[in-house]
Amino acid sequence: MNSQHEVMKLESRVRRTALRSLLLAGFAMPWLFGRVVHAQRMNSGSLLSLNDMVQPIVKGAILLNKDLQIEAPLLADNGSLVPIQIQVQSPMSAQDHVTHIYLLSQRNPVTQMAVFQLGPWNGRAEVSTRVRLAGTQEVVALARLSNGEFRYKQMEIIVTESACVDAS
């Protein structure tokens, strides 16, 4: 993916930059308290089905395989750093927007790699990040819309270096 370059440059700038961010030991952040931190259940290392991955989140709501793109390398050179970008087609208006984007792993010990929360203020339902993949697997991006419906897409990513242990 093209942003890998830019991220690396960003990283080296971070290292060189003098401290601008603050470590806030005693700073009160009331919005953080009261959050329920869900214990992350570890899987046994087996491959989950699409249903296993999405239903705990979707819970029977409408789920359509459209309006969502995943951009990620088919061949990942490094399983610890796989760039991934999700785009959802949405007007991102007050009436019609994406509220959550979930990144799900078929094989990692923790299925829900991340959940992003968005709203009309974003203007565009597009997020990127870098993930760790425990071997070749399907990755699923799941978007929740403001009307309660879901959209999804899945993509197989080959983690080339772990070929020795991946069952194929």
Binding site: L19, L23, A25, F27, L81, L103, Q117, W121
Partner: protein, 106 residues
């Protein structure tokens, strides 16, 4: 010490939908690795990260150990007016981080 770096385009006009890039220095320890003394390095990941423009929350993410070390995030935000851009996060150890930057809108 935690360090964060945020970037967006130089010139931002009202109504623009701009791309924000965010990089946080954090090891995101998975808790699966054993060090060379035979001890498990305990899990320490960013549990929650959020961004505010002024008082408006514009981005929130709950990562897991599946997010790579030195988490990188990109998202978009609609520019309305100049405001303070604030990134905040908290990790498993309870250590909180924050980064402030003025988001200038022309």
């Amino acid at each position: 010490m935690n360090i964060a770096r945020v970037q967006w385009p130089d010139k931002v006009r009202t109504g623009d939908v701009v791309k924000v890039r965010l990089l946080v220095q954090h090891p995101m320890e998975t808790g699966y690795l054993q060090d060379l003394t035979g001890k498990v390095v305990p899990r320490n990941i960013i549990q929650l990260l959020s961004c505010h423009l002024g008082n408006q929350e514009v981005f929130r993410i709950e990562p897991s150990s599946g997010i790579s070390a030195n988490p990188f995030f990109e998202f978009f935000v609609r520019a309305t007016m100049t405001a303070e851009f604030k990134v905040q996060w908290i990790d498993d150890k309870g250590v909180k981080g924050q980064h402030l930057q003025i988001f200038n809108v022309m």
